[in-house]
Subunit: 332 residues, 2 copies
């Protein structure tokens, strides 16, 4: 039985941009299991933009991550030891064990998953929180009609890639925004979007106009800042905007919105949302997403960092858009 658990703690809050100094890798002994507990060896850790919000103690939808505790995070792994009647050694499970190699639980918040048709790591992404995030924002907020144009920022990312593919399946024109030629090519050629605008090319305004000749009916916003502002100016009357991420706002130099007047002139509906607040949609969404993955109708890509010690740099890279697909850490 393993005796040592490696963990990453948050030890300080960012002043401005987050940095590797905010984290510390520690080793902690694993206590023997009590009755009713089981131990999980985490195979995968999910890295997500929401974690940046938890690192600060400013007003947000969630309590800040406490200092000197294991960083919060979703995990997928295998039960390696059990004194719990419903969890057996070998069971595959997902949970929120955080940035550490082992987790101990009494079963609360833990979900058994079937990895025979869907790979285990997919439950951290396309058939997990990120997939449901895409599903909710597209279906419950944008609610697109066939023939409408849907724009998605961070289009090659974990959420954006699913939004665009679901929009295509709904008969829409799907237009992505991403950083760099490689990502844009992936979005169009592999994911099947109709177009993708490279915001790093320096012609965001003109390129988005060309890619959306009929304007924009639905916007799934993952980025904020200039990208969001530019999309606002392309919105059609009665457009719907799902506000899912505003990475830019975490940095003090983020651009303010100059085109907010479009909310009025185009009578837009904007809604910010957190997918955890809508547990009612999860079963339907996960069932659809799982089927699409099992039948290879939904493409997804992972950016895999190796080993727990790689998590901080992988996380910082993701905040800067250096990952390509859903960022995970392989722990075993």
């Amino acid at each position: 039985m393993p005796e040592i658990n490696r963990q990453i703690l948050l030890v300080s809050r960012p002043q401005g941009a987050a940095s590797a100094d905010n984290f510390r890798l520690v080793e902690a002994p694993l206590a023997p299991l009590a009755d009713g507990e089981f131990r999980v060896r985490n195979h995968y850790l999910s890295l997500d933009p929401y974690m940046r919000g938890r690192m600060s103690d400013s007003k947000s939808y969630a309590a800040p991550q406490p200092l000197n505790e294991v960083m919060i995070g979703g995990t997928a792994g295998e039960v390696v030891e059990s004194k719990h009647p419903s969890f057996a050694v070998g069971d595959k499970v997902t949970g929120m064990f955080g940035w550490q190699e082992f987790g101990t639980s009494d079963g609360r918040g833990i979900t058994k998953v079937d990895d025979t048709r869907v790979p285990l790591s997919a439950y951290l992404g396309v058939v997990g929180m990120t997939g449901v995030t895409a599903w909710y924002g597209l279906n419950r907020i944008i609610a697109p009609q066939a023939g409408e144009t849907v724009v998605v920022s961070a289009a090659s990312g974990a959420v954006g890639s699913v939004v665009g593919q679901l929009a295509k399946l709904a008969g829409c024109r799907a237009v992505g925004i991403a950083g760099g030629e490689t990502k844009c090519r992936y979005v169009v050629q592999t994911l099947g979007f109709d177009a993708c605008v490279d915001y790093k090319a320096g012609r965001l305004c003109e390129d988005l106009e060309k890619a959306t000749p009929n304007g924009v009916d639905g916007c799934f916003e993952n980025v904020g800042g200039v990208v969001f502002d530019t999309t606002l100016a392309r919105m059609n009357a009665h457009g719907r905007i799902a506000v899912c991420g505003m990475i830019s706002r975490y940095d003090p130099n983020h651009a303010a919105l100059a085109n907010a007047g479009a909310i009025l002139t185009q009578r837009l509906a904007l809604r910010g949302f957190i997918v955890y607040e809508h547990p009612d949609v999860w079963p339907e969404a996960l069932q659809q997403l799982g089927e699409l993955v099992a039948y290879r109708k939904l493409h997804y890509r992972e950016s895999v960092a190796e080993g727990l010690e790689a998590a901080p740099q992988a996380f910082l890279g993701m905040l800067e858009g250096r990952n390509f697909g859903k960022q995970i850490v392989k722990l075993i």
Copy 2:
């Protein structure tokens, strides 16, 4: 019978802020009535912020006002001559005759009104477009629960004053934002709001915080810019924002929104709206508003400019917040 009609035309579009030079007063002969027509002597002309949008030819929800034609505007008056079977001399009517002393119509778009319980000018405001605007934004977008806090900008204005009073009738804490001590005193003492913040006092942030100790659940936004931005930062989770006006955006130096991140962190719902797009609510809203005015449960105030020639300066003053209550022009 009158032979001369005085009119104000839009003769140029604003470069930056609107100015009196954009308008010209002209005299035009009145043609004899054709069969099926009637002539109205306009008693009152309504001046409203939307007119500023029409003066420009930028992308907006409505076509721009054509140059060298009579400025668009709502009017209330009396039939003075008729060759129409359903409109008789002496009938009181409202319509969109624009910035002129007489209007000629075949009846389309004209509504007969009863001025025995409700004063004629009120049909241009509290029992007209501005009142329904307040009613729609509050009831259909904010949908406040008793005990919630509703913030209204331009609180002493035509729309804002109705929003706050309806919010109070719904059991809410109503907090206004207005410019200057006089307006703020009016908002609290005459209109009955719980508090009013003077944005010209230089402590908008602190004062709004004090006036909204439990945060803000509903925001009725009439102004945009810094006032809106400051309110955004006070929003509670799941707050609703009715975006009705963004006067600031008409000027090139308007402030951009720095607190848009609250849309995500507080999971806000924002909706821009134009009351003309919701004809279904007008009968219910007008009936309620008319009753409240007739029974003196809804206070309203008018800022009256005298004579058609006073309209341009009164309009410019309204854009700068110099009016006090619904801005109208008395034409007779």
